[in-house]
Structures are given as C-alpha cells and as structure tokens.
Subunit: 339 residues, 2 copies
DNA sequence: CAGGTTGATGTAACTAGTTACATGTGTCAA
DNA sequence: TTGACACATGTAACTAGTTACATCAACCTG
C-alpha cells in the first residue's frame, strides 16, 4: 500500500536512476569515493540509503574473480584439537580478508568428497583438509578443478598436495621413548579407529618401528572423553596390568584419567599416563598430563598464510614440517613398584 | 609452449565453441542433462573435461540470487559449548544445502559488527548470532540490509530479531535452587566477564531475583578450564569457606574441579560443585558434574532449520524457548558438616 | 587567448552464467 | 499429405556489478 518502491532488492541501476547519475558514478561512490565530487556523492549516498541498496556480492565476485572465502574440511568439531585449529585458521585468514567455511567429514572419505564438492560449488577459492589420504573422487576433484588445497596435521614431502603438519610417527615415538626412559616396559597403547585415519596409522606405525624391547598392547576406542574413560576397563580387564598407558590423543588421555580416577587407580603412582596433542585441559588436569605438544595453533596460522598467498598470488607453497616436542608433566613418573 | 589453450579458466562460451554448440546447450548439460540428446551431451562433456571447465559459482549466484551459505558469529571456538553448537548448525544447514561460514567475535561488539559486515560483503544469505545485545552499528547493519538474522543462546520474545535459546535467568535459578535444597547456604558464584555478555548478565540477575535467604559471593574469572582452576584459590583465600560453588558455565566448573583436586579439597564431601551447560566432559568427570542441561545441539538444529526456511521462503520465524533442566550427578550432595 | 592538464562524469563493453522464446526437424495421426 | 506436437537446439536478453575509454568543462600556463 506504500505506493512506491519495495518489490525487491535495488541494484546499481536503480540507485543511478534515483540519484540521476550513471552507474559508473554509483560504482565509484562505493569503491573510490574520492573520485566523485562531494555534492554528487551525497546525492548517491542518499539514494543508496532510501533504496536500502546492498551491493551484490555475487556480481562483485564475477568481476574480481574472487569470492573471498576458503573452506576447511575437518573430521569433527567435538575434539578440541580441531576447534583450536579452526580458531587459528579463522583468525589468520581474517587478517588476509578471507572468511572460513567449515565442513565436517566425520572421518568418512565419501562425506569429505561430497562436502568438498559443495564447497567448490559455492565458490571456495581454496581448501584446507586434514590428512593426506582421501578418496579417489576427492583427489580427482582437486586435480580437475586445480583448486588450491593444503593438507594439514600430516607432514609428507612426497605428497602432491602441499602438506603443513607434523611427523606423526615421530610424535608417537617421542611419547614412547619417554615412557621407556622412565623404566616402563608393559605399555597399553590407546588409539581411535585407524581405518581411514592416516594420522593414527602413522602414529601406530611409528610405534611399531621403534624397537625398545617393550611389550605393547593396543586398544582401540572412540576419540572422546567417554571413549578414553571406557577403555580403562578393557585395559585392566584380564590382561597383565600395564606400567603405562599411552593415548594417541589427549582427549582420550583425559578420558582415561577420569576412568582411572573412577576405579581408584592413581596416576602416576599406579600407572603412568600420557597423551599426544597438548590441549589446554591437559595442563590443568590433576595430575597435569604429560603429553607431546603438537603446534595446532601454529599449524592453523601457517596453513592460513600459505593458502592466502596461494589464492591471492598463485604461489603454491611447499610442504612444511612443524616440530613436536615432549611436555613432561605430572602424570608420568619413574616405575617404582618392583615387577 | 603447449601452443593451444591455457591462459586462464575456461568459461561457458569456450566450452560451447569447443563442442560446437550454443551456450544454452552447455548450460543444459550442466543443469538439465535429460533435455540434451546423448550424442550432444557427450560432446559437451568431453569439451568440459579437456578444457577443465568449472562453472563459476558467482555467475550462478548472480542469476539465482542465492549464494547458498550463511554466517555464524560466536564468541569463541575454544569453549566446547560453541563448538558443539556450530557442529549442530553445520549438520542441519547441510541438510538444507547451506554451508556455514564461521566468525569469532571474542565477545567484542566491535569485532562482531566488523565480521558481520564481512559476512554480508561475501554474500551470506543470513546470520546466526549469539545473544541479543549487540553494538549499535551491528543493529543498524541488520536493519539496513534486512538480512535474515537469528539470535541464539538467549530467549527473548520481545527482541526485534527472532531468538532461539533458553531462559538464562531460569537456568541459573534451577541451579541455585538445587543447591539450596541440598541445604547449602553459603554459595560462591563463579562467572565470566559480564560486560558485553548478556547471557552471563541474565544468569546473574536470575540469581539476584531469587530470594532463598542464601549468602552469595561472586567471583569473576576467565571462561576456561584455567580460569575455573585459578578461581578456586580466590574462593578459599580469606573468605569463609562456602558450602557450594556454582559456576555459570561447565568449562569453568570443570576447571574448578581440577582446582579443588589440586588443593586436596573433595567434591562433594568438602564442597558441592555444579555448573551450567552440560558438556559431555561433565558426565565423564570424576566426580561427575551436576549441572543444568542446556540443549545446544537442539538449539543449533532449530536455529539452522529456522534460518534455512527464512532464506529459502522468506518466512521469518518466531522466537523459541528451549527448556533447561537439572542434571543431578555426583558433584553435589546434602550438606553434611554441621555449621 | 590558444593549448594543455586536471577533474568529474557518462557510455558501453566487459565479467559468466541462466532462461524465455524462436526455430528447425522428425514423428504420428487424421 | 498435412497439421499437430514433441524434441533438440540456438539467439539474445536477461542477472548486477566493474572499468576502459570518451567526453566535457574548468582551470592554468605560456
């Protein structure tokens, strides 16, 4: 009933008409206000306001060839390690005027490929993925579209895609070596599902490759506090009691700590316990958790910088290995009890 | 040196030329393959492959008027409550063919407004924000662009924006009532920075509004495990020892649990401890944490559905209040020690 | 006062798709 | 045999911006 206006979104031409100028002038008011005389500028700005004109991002993107966002594919948001990684990504990308679209894969290569397709369909300028092994469709997709894509959490100089991550095998070895040096011989290794997870696989094969004369037993569980807590029961079921528990991720180690507390088993007096990741919670837990620090925040920063440079200047980055280091805290100690 | 091709990305016209068909036919192969004869279709598909043609998302968006992504503004990714919320959002939006762009605000209204602007600039079809109070610029931006925007984590039927969340005051009252019923009188209330955080403010005023004849003392700390752990020292510094500690978020409560453990104070025997949120970790902790369940996953789902409907069919949703409920676990108990 | 420069603005051709409408061919029934 | 219709395809006009180039007036310099 308002008589005039409404209908739908105003465009540049509508504004130009209302302000009695050309479309070029309106565009200038938006992108180079100094090139327009104050009088005209004001008239155009008034028209913009009254028409509630909002420039179309798509129309801009079509001209610039840039959508100003990239996608990240991570297994889950429920593990703090990925949440922290995304936080770092988002922060650094923001400094390069890039936004971050988040997609979770649930560690399913099929879902990963589907979501990657979706990200490309909406115009992602680049992708950040977790790990180096993916489905054939995924690899074909990246190859076909030549989309800038960086693998993370896994360093592999031989990969076609640039990788920015750590040496997972070495990280696991650091942990195991620490336990061995403390005199532990019988060690329970707790890990998440290895299938489809190259990081876990690399950590496990790192352990296998290290011959320290230890007696390792493996326990697979869900990567969550609950999974870590529940696995304690299995570990202490019938098997000979281990000297130490090595969890291949900190969430699981934290869960295991709770599991031990629930059964009245004390770390490190009864068993040493350690993880890999170094989450903030690990430092706060009681006892504070010995772990291997993986620089996720740094990784997010480096990956974001590399991708930003890649999409802006077509400079494909090289792979980068980030250091993993032992963080000794209170949950591990020298073996005291006699065998 | 390859002689032909290269230079830059192929477009529809290039493909049409190569396949010796019109642009319309190429477009049909992409969007309605059945409308094209198999022979022609194959020819076009071959051209698409050899030219590595990838349709421009921007050009599509300009025609459809849809970019197929929305933005979410959350304070941080470091608190599991928001990570879980985003996970639910992403999942449900995905079912509606919408992607999720994540932006963190660090609880700073200025950053929030800037990032909201950024999301609009790249073409977000809608926004999901945390809380109802925002900067003037933010409100002006939403008003001006008329962008579908939903507030979450805070139910307020009177808000201009639709809100999908819980009654924060009531949630805090549920917690306090529980502690009162257990016979606790002296209660330490631990909360994050209230400034700029309407959820915290609402919870605090909920507590103030409830007159149960209790003796409340307030402690402000950082919303993190570290913050929760550190605040324990303040609580037990000079003040009379409290009967119970009520943390207005579970991360802080978890941190406080560690803080207590570190000082050899047992929950619930020495003090009852409870939180609000109901994170997965709260159920696994030892003792398991009594808390008030806030349905974040449900909230994410409902917000995503409402926004998806809004952007697709211009149906603005109404506000929705989600129930908060007490979850009694092991960290709270009847006051035993005589006063 | 002619000629050059600067500044402000407009025209129209781009960017890369979609799609309404027109056209042409082939099949089938009357 | 011819009209009716389906099917396949093409033409050109859309979508909403940016921008190279042209134009014109005003100002300054020689």
């Amino acid at each position: 009933m308002a008589g005039t206006q409404d209908k739908k979104r105003a465009n540049l031409r509508d504004v130009a008409k209302a302000a009695e100028v050309s479309v070029a002038t309106v565009s200038r008011v938006l992108n180079a206000p100094d090139a327009v005389s104050p009088k005209t500028r004001e008239r155009v700005e008034a028209a913009i306001r009254t028409l509630r004109f909002v420039p179309s991002a798509a129309a801009r993107a079509i001209n610039s060839g840039r959508t100003r966002f990239v996608g990240a594919l991570v297994p889950t948001l429920d593990n703090a390690i990925f949440a922290r990684f995304l936080a770092a990504l988002e922060k650094t990308l923001g400094a390069h005027q890039l936004s971050l679209v988040v997609a979770t894969t649930e560690t399913d290569p099929g879902i990963e490929a589907t979501k990657a397709k979706g990200l490309i369909d909406i115009g992602a300028e680049g992708l950040i993925v977790t790990g180096v092994s993916h489905s054939a469709e995924f690899h074909a997709l990246i190859e076909r579209t030549m989309l800038p894509t960086i693998s993370t959490s896994y360093y592999d100089a031989a990969s076609q895609m640039p990788t920015i991550g750590y040496d997972n095998a070495a990280a696991a070895q650091i942990a195991l070596t620490h336990l061995a040096e403390l005199g532990h011989r019988r060690i329970a290794v707790v890990h998440g599902p290895a299938r489809g997870n190259d990081r876990t696989q690399a950590r496990l094969s790192g352990l296998r490759a290290l011959d320290l004369g230890l007696e390792l037993s493996r326990f697979e569980t869900e990567i969550s506090l609950r999974g870590g807590s529940a696995v304690v029961e299995d570990i202490f079921a019938d098997n000979p009691r281990p000297d130490a528990i090595l969890c291949l991720s900190d969430v699981v180690a934290l869960g295991a700590l709770f599991g031990l507390q629930g059964r009245g088993i004390a770390a490190p007096n009864d068993v040493s316990l350690m993880g890999i990741d170094d989450l903030p919670s690990s430092a706060v837990a009681v006892p504070a958790l010995t772990t291997v620090h993986l620089p996720v925040t740094r990784m997010g920063k480096r990956a974001a910088e590399a991708l930003a440079r890649w999409v802006a200047h077509q400079e494909a980055p090289g792979s980068e290995r980030l250091p993993a280091s032992l963080v000794k805290r209170a949950s591990t100690a020298k073996r005291m009890a006699p065998r």
